[in-house]
Each structure stands twice: as structure tokens, then as C-alpha cells.
């Protein structure tokens, strides 16, 4: 049974974690740990794939663990199987990558034991079938990933990142705990089957939605709960960053889908408005933040925030359709969201692998110190380019397909009866389109500044391409990005049972459409064929190249760059990450980040350099977190006096509290 195999893999991964404690220090330690993780993830992936293709029959298992009167429930249904595929695919690719990348680790004992435990925890969250097990696994996942974030705790900023992450993770788990508490009510049966069966009042549903948005949303990184993400994801070693950004955020999405779509029952239409608004803001603000970054890994982390926004837009649309009983449209929107879950796990892992490779080769994450790596890291640059094209939602790769499906879902939404949705959804569509276009700009910057141009530092000049394992992992993910883009029909059909189980409808089967086209509703309405588009481009491009080389001319001469006759040999005269984003900062940043540029120009004849200072404000941090932090500090300052009272006063305080509690009881009962 898949659930047993899944649990055995979790157990074995925990065993590997224990083994890592023993062998971590030895030379072969990292190869043993990552090799074992790779094999276990591949087994779990195969079993999850089989369960998913098998049509999503649910398998259950109860183990006598945890609280004695509950036990630990585990279950694989279609939804869990799909997310297990995402988790274990990412886990397997990361382990493969780490076989090479992990060798450069300076402090292996800070990474090796936690890595398999982190993988086990993410598997366990998806497998869990009661609230206790779920929360335990969720907290275990938070703690192991926190340990991995703190692996390089001496580097500047990492300790603070770990602290913020720790706070936000505890806050998130607390919210989920409350969500389950509200769901279970006073009877308190915490098995998912019981939660699913019980009926929930509108107030309960609203409370649960709020708590789940806070709890799962903070882990996924929706605005304004995203602030820990761009701090913590880049602080971890790059393969862990890939796992956190590509996979752990998806586990958070799983938590949201499981609780809201599966356990809570039919939603009300206004809940979709909340989710849509948050999704739209998250997408736009995430990518604007990413554009302003000069640190490659932070840029990628902010882009994760954007993609989470896109996924939440799809989920919000699915909620809206489902609340109005339009199952086929809900299926379309949910398929789009889940497809984007898979896509983002593929290309974000790939991009973090690329960033890790650049870090290994040059020791730099700052794009202003990089450049020209396409000449020295040929294969890495190809893989990174594929990831950039995919995440920018450009055809014929996979990112485009899921955004296209989301757009198609938006286009069927004018039939929704509620006015709030009628007015909100076009705006969300515009935000989504804006985010997609800005993503293209962002990844032109990321690839262009890092890999193109001339090297901006000695380290970038002497970079070497990375080892074979890392390249194999990047190549594998790049290939999957291409495959999911040109034959999306198979992915959509694979998602069929998942969507069916959640919204009681599914998209028409795609794999038997003519020419493997993608036809979400009807052929006269919309269709897209990535395979054909790829073939057309490849054919016409190579045909043109062949014809020109054959008939016209193939002569080629290398010479100094032209640059309008004034080429400057210094590489700092190139466009940098900051200058590339400057026009966008002026247009969008002036409003969103209150960006101000001041130029200090010394008087003529003075030898001082002129300076450009840019001042930007993070609206969420300064508007929300800083005041909360100040308030907490203020309260702590005040309460500090309580530490220096006499015993007499303490006793009177205890007495007063007792009286108060008794009064409360007297009034209550």
C-alpha cells in the first residue's frame, strides 16, 4: 500500500538523519547521506506517482503513536499523492544536486542530520490524517528548516533571519492550532475524517479561514506575512534554499488546500474575495521587491512570494466558482493553481541550484560582482536560462501554461453573480498580467547581469563550471520544465482525480485531444499547443539560419565591441543590477516603496566623486512589523518593573488574580 511505503520512506529518512550524526564528519559522509536521501525520495516519488495515476483511491493507516486515545492517522488520497510527488521530486532533485554541492560544505554537521529530517517532515505533513499528527509534522518541518537556515549562523544577517523565521513559524503553527481547534469544536475529534464529516457554521468557517490564511499563509509567504521568507530562504545553503522555496512553500499551499477545500466544505463567496485580494497583492508586491534586489538568492526568494500570489489567485478563483456551484470552472481554476504549484517547484528549485552553482564557482551572491559567466559556466547558464524563461511565463515552457490557464479561468468569471467579485476579478487579472510582465523584466535582469556582459570581479573572471551531479540535477529539472510546457495535457490529466475530489468536477481529458493540444473548455473558445509552437519556432529559426548560411553569407569576424565608437574597457561602465531596475524603480517604486533618489554632485574642480543615494522603504515592514516590534518592546519595558516587587506585593497580585478568575467563573456560569 502506498501509505505504508510512504511511511517506511519517512522512517528511513529519519534513520538516515540519525546515521548522519555518526558518519557526518567522515569524508564520505555527505555522499552517503545525500545518496540515501536521493534513493529514498525516488522510491517515495515512484509510489506517490503510482497512487496518483491509479486514480486517487485513498489508503489509510493508523499507527499507535502520539496521544494514546487518538493514535496517528495517515492517509494517501489524490491530493496527498500529488503533493507527495511535488515534495519527493524536489527532494530527489535536491539530493542529487547536493551530492556535488554538499561537498563544499564547511560545517557538514550543521546540515547533514537536518536535511533528511526536513525531507521526512515534509512527507509527514502531507501524509498526516489527523490534526495532532499534522501539527506535529508541521512544527517538525519548521524546526528542521530553521536549523538548516541557521547552518551558517556566523554570516552577517543569518542570525537575524533565523530569529525572524523562528518567530513567524511559531506564530503560524499557533494559528493552525487555533484553526483546528475551531474546526473540531467542543466535541474535539481531531481525525480529518471526522472534521470533514461535521457541518460548520458561517462564523466557524470565517474564523478557520482567517487562521489558515495566517498559519499556512505565513509559511507560504503571502503579503504581509512574507517578511521572513526573503531573509531565511537565502540564508540557508543553496540546496536547502531550493527545498524551502520550491517545496516547503508548496507544503504550505497543501495545508491551505487541505483545510479550506477539503475539510471546511463549501466556501462562501466572500472568502474567495479575501484570497483573491491577498493573491493579487502578493504577486505584484513580490515581483516588485524582486526587481529591486541585487542579491541573486534574495531576488529568487522574492520571486517565490510572487509565484505564491499567482497560486493563491488560482485558488481564490476556484473558491469563487465553487461557492457559486460552477464546478467545471472551479476545476479549471484549481487545475491552474495546482499546475503552477508543480511548475514553480520545478523552476524555482532549478534557479536556486543555478544560484548555488554561481556561489560555488565565485563565492558571490551579489550580482554587481558577477557577469560574463555564460563563457565560463556554459551548462549552468543554459539550465539557468531555461529556468528564467519558464518563470517569466514565456511559451513554450511550463510557466506559461499555468498562467494561461489562470487567465482562461478569469475569462469565464463574468458569469459570477456577486458584484464584489465582478469588480474585483478584472483588477486581479490586471495585477496578474502586471506581475507576469515584471517577472520577465526581473529575470532578464537576473540572467543578464549574472551571466552576460563582462565579469565585474576577479572571482567572476576565474569561475569554473560545477560538478556533474549538480549539472545533472539542473539538467533534469530543465528537461521537466520543457516537458511540462510542451505536453501539459498529461499533467492536467494527472491532476484530474485531485481536482475531482476537491471540487466535484474536472477539466476535459486532454491527452486524447488532437495533436496533444490544450483545450480547457471548447476548441472554439481557446486552445494552445506548446509542442506545435516549439516545433514551429525551432523549424523556422533553423530554416532561416540554414538558408542564410547556405545562400547569403557565413563570414564572421571578431573585433572590439562597437558601442557607438566609444567602448570603455572598464567593466563597471556596464549596466548593473541597480541601473537596470532604475526606470522601474522610478515608475513603480516611487509609489510602492517611496523610493527617493538624491544625487550629490561636487562643485566643478573638486576631486570628490559624485554620489547617487537611493532611499527605499519597505511598506509592510515599516507599516506593520516595526510598530508591532516597538509595541512589544514597550510592553516588555513596562512589565519589567514586575520583576522587582516585594514578596508582599507578589502575594497580593496572586490574590487579586484569583479573585478575578473566580469572578469570571461566577459571571460565566
Amino acid at each position: 500500500m502506498p501509505v505504508d511505503l510512504g511511511l517506511e520512506c519517512v522512517g528511513a529518512l529519519l534513520g538516515v538523519a540519525a546515521l548522519a550524526l555518526a558518519v557526518g564528519r567522515s569524508r564520505a559522509g555527505s555522499s552517503v547521506v545525500y545518496g540515501a536521501s536521493f534513493i529514498l525520495c525516488t522510491i517515495a516519488l515512484a509510489s506517490a506517482l503510482r497512487a496518483l495515476i491509479g486514480g486517487g483511491i485513498a489508503y489509510e493507516r493508523v499507527l499507535p503513536l502520539g496521544l494514546p486515545w487518538i493514535g496517528a492517522h495517515f492517509r494517501i488520497d489524490a491530493l496527498a499523492a500529488f503533493f507527495l510527488v511535488v515534495v519527493d521530486l524536489g527532494g530527489a532533485a535536491t539530493s542529487l544536486y547536493a551530492l556535488g554541492y554538499g561537498r563544499h560544505e564547511a560545517a557538514p554537521m550543521r546540515v547533514l542530520p537536518f536535511f533528511p529530517a526536513f525531507l521526512a517532515a515534509m512527507n509527514l505533513v502531507v501524509l498526516a490524517d489527523d490534526a495532532f499528527t499534522f501539527l506535529f509534522a508541521w512544527e517538525f518541518m519548521s524546526l528542521t528548516s530553521w536549523a538548516l537556515v541557521m547552518a551558517h549562523h556566523r554570516e552577517r544577517g543569518n542570525a537575524q533571519a533565523g530569529y525572524v523565521y523562528f518567530l513567524m513559524a511559531s506564530f503560524g503553527t499557533l494559528c493552525l492550532l487555533l484553526a483546528f481547534g475551531v474546526l473540531a469544536g467542543s466535541e474535539g475529534d481531531y481525525a480529518f475524517a471526522a472534521l470533514r464529516a461535521s457541518h460548520h457554521a458561517p462564523v466557524t468557517a470565517a474564523l478557520v479561514l482567517t487562521f489558515v490564511l495566517l498559519g499556512a499563509g505565513s509559511k507560504a509567504g503571502i503579503v504581509p506575512l512574507h517578511t521572513w521568507l526573503p531573509l531565511a530562504h537565502p540564508a540557508a545553503p543553496s540546496h536547502v534554499s531550493a527545498l524551502m522555496s520550491g517545496v516547503m512553500t508548496k507544503v504550505a499551499i497543501y495545508g491551505f488546500v487541505r483545510l479550506i477545500f477539503d475539510l471546511l466544505g463549501t466556501p462562501s463567496w466572500w472568502s474567495s474575495m479575501v484570497v483573491l485580494t491577498l493573491g493579487g497583492i502578493t504577486a505584484a508586491l513580490g515581483i516588485l521587491h524582486a526587481l529591486m534586489e541585487r542579491d541573486l538568492k534574495r531576488l529568487l526568494a522574492y520571486s517565490t512570494v510572487e509565484n505564491i500570489g499567482i497560486i493563491y489567485i488560482g485558488l481564490g478563483l476556484a473558491l469563487a466558482f465553487r461557492a457559486n456551484g460552477v464546478e467545471w470552472a472551479a476545476a479549471l481554476a484549481l487545475t491552474a493553481a495546482l499546475f503552477h504549484v508543480l511548475n514553480h517547484s520545478l523552476f524555482k528549485s532549478l534557479l536556486f541550484f543555478g544560484a548555488g552553482a554561481v556561489l560555488t564557482a565565485t563565492g558571490e551572491r551579489d550580482m554587481e560582482q558577477l557577469g560574463g559567466l555564460i563563457h565560463r559556466m556554459k551548462l549552468t547558464s543554459v539550465a539557468f536560462l531555461v529556468g528564467c524563461v519558464a518563470i517569466s511565463a514565456l511559451p513554450p515552457l511550463n510557466g506559461f501554461v499555468s498562467e494561461w490557464l489562470t487567465f482562461q479561468a478569469i475569462l469565464v468569471s463574468p458569469d459570477l453573480p456577486q458584484w464584489g467579485l465582478k469588480i474585483l476579478i478584472p483588477g486581479i487579472g490586471a495585477l496578474l498580467a502586471l506581475a507576469a510582465a515584471l517577472a520577465a523584466a526581473c529575470f532578464v535582469k537576473a540572467f543578464g547581469v549574472t551571466f552576460l556582459g563582462r565579469p565585474r570581479s576577479e572571482a567572476a573572471k576565474s569561475a569554473q563550471d560545477v560538478d556533474r551531479f549538480s549539472l545533472a540535477a539542473m539538467g533534469l529539472l530543465a528537461l521537466l520544465c520543457l516537458l511540462a510546457g510542451v505536453v501539459p495535457g498529461f499533467v492536467i490529466d494527472g491532476l484530474g482525480p485531485v481536482v475531482q475530489s476537491l471540487v466535484q468536477g474536472r477539466m476535459p481529458a486532454q491527452s486524447d485531444m488532437p495533436w496533444l493540444s490544450l483545450i480547457p473548455i471548447a476548441a472554439s473558445r481557446s486552445s494552445y499547443n506548446g509542442l506545435l509552437v516549439l516545433c514551429f519556432i525551432a523549424l523556422s529559426g533553423s530554416l532561416a539560419a540554414y538558408a542564410i548560411h547556405r545562400i547569403a553569407s557565413r563570414a564572421l569576424r571578431r573585433s572590439a565591441p562597437w558601442d557607438c565608437g566609444f567602448p570603455d574597457p572598464s567593466p563597471i561602465t556596464q549596466y548593473s543590477a541597480g541601473s537596470f531596475a532604475q526606470p522601474i524603480r522610478r515608475v513603480f517604486g516611487a509609489v510602492v516603496f517611496q523610493a527617493r533618489e538624491t544625487v550629490a554632485m561636487p562643485p566643478p574642480g573638486a576631486l570628490a566623486p559624485s554620489r547617487l543615494t537611493v532611499e527605499m522603504h519597505d511598506p509592510v515592514w515599516e507599516g506593520l512589523y516595526a510598530p508591532v516590534g516597538t509595541a512589544v518592546g514597550f510592553a516588555a519595558e513596562r512589565l519589567n518593573h514586575l520583576q522587582f516587587l516585594t514578596i508582599r506585593r507578589y502575594l497580593s497580585l496572586v490574590f487579586l488574580l484569583l479573585v478575578l478568575l473566580l469572578l469570571v467563573l461566577a459571571v460565566w456560569l
Partner: protein, 315 residues
């Protein structure tokens, strides 16, 4: 077999007509400025000359710089071949809808911006940076226009949209008018025409498109010039097939209807080119940081059109 021949004819037609359209626009502009101007066939001669010349490649140009022209050309050509010109319902018209066509042009632009940054000169960077700024507003505006059209016609499939526009159900609609204005604005920006960019200048700091392709020469430059001409043709065809769909041969039409379609298409192209020339002559180029206002207006018009369609079916 006949269907495949029509599709092939369309691909060849857009490729052959694109330089002519550019030539016509240039000639008309020259006449309006009381110059004689080069012949309308000059772009063909330019392309032939560029194709025969050797490529002078910057020393540190990478493989990306060398394949980008072919990729840009291929993406633009495929996109242009999927827009109905003289007939709707072509054999492969279903392989990409309007959203995908816009995204295909986006792919071309992505590689063009990357190629601009490849050699590592400041001009390439400035062009790439500004191109992506313009795209970051033009693309959402375009998508909003697509939304409006799709909501009116009930399809994102260009053939279906064009067929719907020919039918009598359309009538005069507010949202359609908004979409037309927005589409013209986006088309001007996307094709780097005045007032956004000046296709005739070469050494001004205001330039966008020309700065990106500054390092290109020979056959590579020819490919990029041809792609730019194709893009202009694509946008005029797009406006024509949606807002002036008269004469379009329906799916599976005979040779006579196709002939009429081809004739009316030529007339529409000529009209579009002349209108563009008149427009460009009467307006001055704007500062680069005024461009966001211009495109923001297009985005708002598109959004308004979509919103109106969401609110009521009668707009």
C-alpha cells in the same frame, strides 16, 4: 492539402509583405516631410545587402548573442503567421490563441533584451532596461485588451474573434472603442514608433530598440530588422482583423474568396501604414519617463473595457 497550402501562403505572405510595409511607411513619412525618400522597395535592398555582408562580432559575444536573432525572428514570424490576414480558420490557427501570440512576442523581446546585455556595453544595457520598462506596462495593457475582446467574442481564439466581429451581433460598443484606442497605443509602443521611440534615430540617449541592437551587424541585423518589420505587420493585421474584418475569407473558403481576402488585406495594410505615417509626422517624441503615463493610460482603458464587460453584457 489545400488548407496546408493556404497556411503556407499566409506564412510566406507576411514574410514578403513586411519589408514593403516598412518601406511604405518610410516613403509616406518622407513625402509628408516634403522629402522624396527612398523607394518603397528599399528595405528589401537593405536586407539583401545586410545578408551578404560578413558579421562583425564583439570579442566577448556569447552563443546567446548569435542565436538570439534567429530566435527573435522565428518567434515573431510564428506569431505573425498565426494572426488572420486574408483568411480565418487556417489549419494551425488553433495552435496558439491571442494570449499565446502576445506571449510569443514576449519571448522574442526577452531574448532581444538579453542579447542587448550580452556584450556588456552601456548602450545595450540602457536599451534592454528601457525595453523591459515599456514591456512591463505594454504587456498588461495588451492582456487587458485581449480580455475585453475575449469577453465580447466569447473566445481568445483570433479566428473566432474575427468571425464574431464580421457577424451582425457586434454593433457599436463602448468597450470595443476603449479596446481600439488602447490597442493602437500599445501597438505604437510595441513597435518603437514615435512618440515612444524613434525608429529613424541612431545616436540619441532616448532610443530603446536601436540601442539594444547596436552591436549587431550583417545577417544577424538583417534578422532583427526583418523581425521588427514583421512585428509592425502583425500589429496592423491584428487591428485590421478585429476592427476592420471586412473581406476576410471564412474557414474553408474557395479561391475566389481568398483572392478577395488578399486584396482587401493589402488595402488595409496600405491604409494602416499611411495612417501611421501621418500620425508619426504630426506628433513629437516624448521623454522616456513620460512613456509610463502614456502606457498607463492604455492599461487603464483596457482595464475599463474589461470591467465594463464584467459589469454588464450590453457595453
Amino acid at each position: 492539402m489545400f488548407d496546408f497550402a493556404v497556411q503556407g501562403a499566409q506564412m510566406a505572405l507576411v514574410l514578403l509583405l513586411a519589408p514593403l510595409l516598412t518601406g511604405i511607411v518610410r516613403k509616406a513619412k518622407a513625402r509628408l516631410q516634403r522629402r522624396r525618400g527612398p523607394s518603397v522597395f528599399q528595405p528589401y535592398r537593405d536586407l539583401a545587402r545586410l545578408l551578404r555582408k560578413e558579421v562583425v562580432l564583439a570579442e566577448n559575444a556569447s552563443w546567446l548573442f548569435r542565436i538570439a536573432p534567429y530566435l527573435i525572428f522565428a518567434a515573431t514570424w510564428v506569431a505573425a503567421a498565426l494572426v488572420p490576414t486574408f483568411a480565418t480558420g487556417l489549419t494551425f490557427s488553433w495552435s496558439a490563441d491571442l494570449i499565446a501570440i502576445i506571449a510569443l512576442l514576449g519571448s522574442g523581446r526577452f531574448f532581444q533584451a538579453l542579447a542587448g546585455m550580452d556584450v556588456g556595453t552601456s548602450f545595450g544595457g540602457i536599451g534592454a532596461s528601457r525595453e523591459m520598462l515599456i514591456a512591463s506596462l505594454a504587456e498588461p495593457a495588451m492582456l487587458m485588451i485581449v480580455f475585453t475582446l475575449a469577453l465580447i467574442a466569447g473566445s481568445t481564439q483570433l479566428s473566432s474573434v474575427a468571425a464574431f466581429m464580421v457577424s451582425s451581433e457586434v454593433g457599436l460598443r463602448v468597450s470595443l472603442g476603449l479596446a481600439l484606442v488602447a490597442l493602437v497605443m500599445v501597438a505604437i509602443a510595441e513597435n518603437a514608433r514615435i512618440p515612444i521611440d524613434n525608429p529613424a534615430t541612431h545616436l540619441e540617449l532616448t532610443m530603446v530598440h536601436e540601442a539594444m541592437v547596436l552591436e549587431y551587424s550583417g545577417r544577424h541585423l538583417a534578422m532583427i530588422e526583418l523581425a521588427a518589420a514583421l512585428k509592425l505587420l502583425l500589429y496592423i493585421s491584428l487591428i485590421a482583423c478585429i476592427f476592420a474584418p471586412w473581406g476576410l475569407a471564412p474557414a474553408g473558403a474557395g479561391a475566389a474568396a481568398l483572392g478577395i481576402g488578399a486584396l482587401s488585406y493589402s488595402a488595409k495594410l496600405l491604409c494602416g501604414g499611411l495612417l501611421l505615417a501621418v500620425f508619426e509626422t504630426t506628433i513629437a517624441k516624448m521623454r522616456v519617463f513620460r512613456v509610463p503615463d502614456f502606457l498607463g493610460a492604455a492599461l487603464m482603458l483596457g482595464l475599463l473595457g474589461t470591467l465594463l464587460r464584467f459589469v454588464s453584457r450590453s457595453f
